[in-house]
């Protein structure tokens, strides 16, 4: 036990791990870049080609790249978290094995650099934790297996064996065994039920991605298949939807409207919440309760008047380009977010405000320098929820687009386009489900990525809300 826990190996591990992270990050970027490159290089198909049975699209390369990116990105995130949070005493032989397995995964992901670095790091970890390297570790494993094998062979002679135990012991042992089986059975049942429920929840997502990657013929099958081979994945569906059906433009429109209205929402709600939480003006509580009461009124009641109002403002012109104002400005504030932020601001002790006032700090400076940094996570939550809300906005944008006199298709937002676009085949007889579902997937997948990445912040907003994202 003399040589273990040498600082030297720890430092080596740290340094190499940094290189591993860098190599992984570069690999992820490369996967994505090649994927995008391949996607751009797909020749834009016609609808006739997509319907044609003989049309062949080989999606092997893109599928492989997509799967690589899907595996490598979470690994990178987990690894970087581990790298910055790992404490010295957590690094043991098991962690060495972990690193080795990850090295094998890197090899499978055609990333030899990080694989080699990880194998080297396994050596460092083993040296640090146990004082010896690969060979000794393999020998130890061999010994362990041998011991187990011996014990299994000699189980009749072992003192635990029932043959030499008293009747009482045998009885107890049997009881313990049945109890263990019962507990195991119960937990298997529990996991099974939860797994079935999870499958029920996940099924639409799986079916969406699967259908989006199928050919037209496959979607018309009365016996749909549950898998698509890598080389049969029709990435060309996405190409058609993005380029020929103008979903690229709709995504741009949605992002434009979403980003601007979110910025507006954050500014107005932060100011309003500050006034409601810190400035003690006359009629504050009355005004606030009036605002809260408006939350109960259904949105349809507002829409009835608002679509006349925006027309009177001249935002529904024949050129149409002002229609984005009509989509943005009514949603630049939100009573619910004011309420949510005010709750957070109220938790900040008032003594900070008094201290700032004594030091001659103006209110605006106090808001920007003190309150926003403290309430930063909540503001971030509001930003995400607002962006997601405008990504999913449907009723109002559809009304606005339908009010335009002509050429209103270029002002659709993404949900409106999903609702209005025609996915019929060239003869106009059958619905091209693969294209329709590909468009749906195009709308849903960014949301899923945002959700997975920022789950913590989104769920924080749920506890207080009775509304959906």
């Amino acid at each position: 036990m003399g040589a273990i826990m040498e600082k030297k190996y720890l430092n080596r591990w740290k340094l190499t791990d940094k290189f591993v992270l860098a190599a992984d990050a570069i690999a992820v970027i490369l996967y994505l870049a090649f994927f995008i490159k391949a996607f751009i290089d797909i020749p834009i198909p016609t609808k006739e080609e997509l319907v044609d049975v003989n049309f062949i699209f080989n999606g092997f390369q893109m599928s492989i790249l997509a799967i690589f990116a899907m595996i490598a990105t979470p690994l990178l995130v987990i690894d970087s978290k581990t790298h910055f949070n790992k404490v010295e005493y957590e690094i043991d032989a098991w962690y060495g094995g972990n690193t080795f397995v990850k090295g094998l995964i890197s090899l499978l992901l055609l990333n030899p650099v990080s694989a080699i670095l990880r194998f080297y790091n396994t050596h460092n970890v083993l040296k640090f934790a146990t004082g010896h390297s690969y060979i000794e570790a393999i020998k130890n494993m061999g010994r362990w297996f041998k011991q187990k094998l011996e014990a299994f062979k000699n189980r009749k002679n072992s003192p635990d064996h029932e043959g030499e135990a008293t009747d009482e012991e045998v009885r107890l042992r049997k009881k313990i065994r049945t109890q263990t089986i019962g507990i195991a059975g119960k937990s298997i049942l529990l996991y099974g039920l939860i797994g079935i429920a999870a499958a029920f929840v996940f099924l639409p997502f799986y079916w969406m991605i699967l259908t989006a990657l199928k050919t037209f013929e496959e979607t018309q099958s009365t016996n749909p298949s549950f898998f698509v081979a890598l080389k049969d994945m029709q990435w060309v569906n996405f190409k058609y939807v993005l380029n020929e059906m103008d979903f690229g433009l709709y995504i741009y429109n949605t992002l434009l409207v979403g980003v601007i209205s979110t910025l507006g929402t954050v500014v107005t709600t932060v100011f309003a919440a500050f006034a409601f939480s810190r400035i003690d003006f006359k009629g504050r509580d009355t005004l606030f309760s009036i605002l809260l009461m408006t939350m109960m009124i259904p949105g349809e009641l507002y829409i009835i008047t608002n679509f006349v109002t925006v027309a009177q403002f001249g935002w529904i012109s024949s050129a149409g380009n002002k229609v984005f104002l009509a989509m943005i400005i009514p949603f630049m504030t939100s009573v619910f977010y004011i309420f949510f932020l005010r709750q957070t601001f109220k938790q900040i002790p008032n003594s900070l405000y008094q201290a700032a006032q004594v030091d001659g700090c103006s209110d605006f400076k106090y808001l920007v320098r003190v309150m926003l940094p403290i309430a930063g996570p909540t503001v971030f939550t509001i930003t995400i929820l607002s962006v997601i809300g405008s990504w999913n906005a449907f009723i109002w944008p559809r009304l606005m687009a339908s009010m335009l006199p002509n050429n209103n298709e270029s002002f659709y937002l993404i949900s409106v386009a999903l609702n209005k676009a025609s996915f019929m085949d060239p003869e106009g007889m059958r619905l091209m489900y693969n294209l329709q579902i590909a468009a749906s997937a195009l709308v849903t997948i960014p949301l899923l990525i945002v959700f997975l990445a920022l789950r913590k912040y989104i769920i924080r907003g749920v506890g207080r809300s009775g509304i959906k994202g």
Binding site: W207, P224, E300, P330, S415, Y433, L447
Partner: protein, 442 residues
Amino acid sequence: MMFKKITRNIKSFFSKVNWSTRNVYLTVKRAIGGVFRKFWSIVTQEEKRIERNRMKLDFVLKYLNLDGKDIDIQLDLDIAEIRKDLVEKKKALSVTYKKDKNQSVLNELNTVSRVIKYLPDDNRTINRKGDRKVETNKFIKAMIYLSPALILLAVFTFWPIINTLRLLIYVGYTESDGSIQGYTIFGNFIKVISQRGFIRPSAGTFSSALINTLLMAFISVPISIVVALLIAAGLNSIKGLKGFFQTIFFLPYVTNTIAIALVFKFMFNENFGLINTMLGWIGIDKVNWLSTNANYWAVMGVMVIYSVWDSLAFKIMVFLSAIQGIDKQYYQAADIDATPKSKVFRKITVPLISPMIFYIMVTSIIGALKVYSSVITLINEAGEIRGATYKMKTIVMYIYEYLNTRAPGNLSLAAASSVVLFGIILLFTLVQMQASKKRVHY
């Protein structure tokens, strides 16, 4: 060494630059401030005002025979007392003057009134005025911060509420030229309520918009609450893979309604759909879910399954956090008594989070009453199944139908139906508020 020296030099250079910039900034600020102050004093004629105030004070002091004495009128005299005396004196003088119209008495009276007028404020008045000023300043400041939100809310929230009340009393209102054909009080409500298909069932069927919506709400909400509770309790009791399952159950939370409803529509397709294929495995014939001549309850089933799936994530999240908030002592006590799991769930978990369950139930029912986007995606714009006698419309669909057909008076009808919806929502909210006052767990 070299490197350190260079960095030090760079740092000192930048700090010098910073210092001199700050000096320049402060000088400019002071100069501009001074100019503004000067300008303001010219505009408000500050010097003249000060002079006038001094003259007024002199006049008062002369009358009080304190002229030339070195006193501070604010501190050394009780101004409230003096004012009281002077007012009494003025009353007496005016009585005298009314009796015998004497010119000297009139002069005296005028002098006294002027002194009262010129008398500086006593401390209480000063305080009161100061308080009012602070109050006003605070109010102005608050309004500056609130104005962006309040202006938007006034235009797009408060005005619609007022306008809805206005629209309700119009007959035949046209929004393009604002012409109306008359006034009514309940006419629009009666028209909406008596229309076939809204509250009354249409001919040859039992379904109406209200019945459809209520059925959807009252079937899907209890199912989703029970399922969400069971899943939340299950998630709470497992250890391994908890994060994984949580993530999967929370996934539907952020989805786009239209996109997922399209996927559901494909899954429930009669010929190519996943659901019918899976039913085929267990030997059930193909069900006509949404196509021509579909059964009412089949369509309702799809709606219910969609809304259960859609609302599950939110409910699981809320219930899971509620269950995690329960005091562990109850469970430990149950453990000691070897209470079975199902009994623990029925007798501890559910009763302790029952206020939360009730709150979620009411808010979900309110949300389910407003269902629109999913229905028009799953069926169609008009909620019509081809070949069926019934129409799968919802309350909100009626509102938008009135909006989209621009006949005179339709806006008023839309307003009336939205107020009906609001009335139903208000009913549920009041029930919830009444129930939450009691806060009974067991």
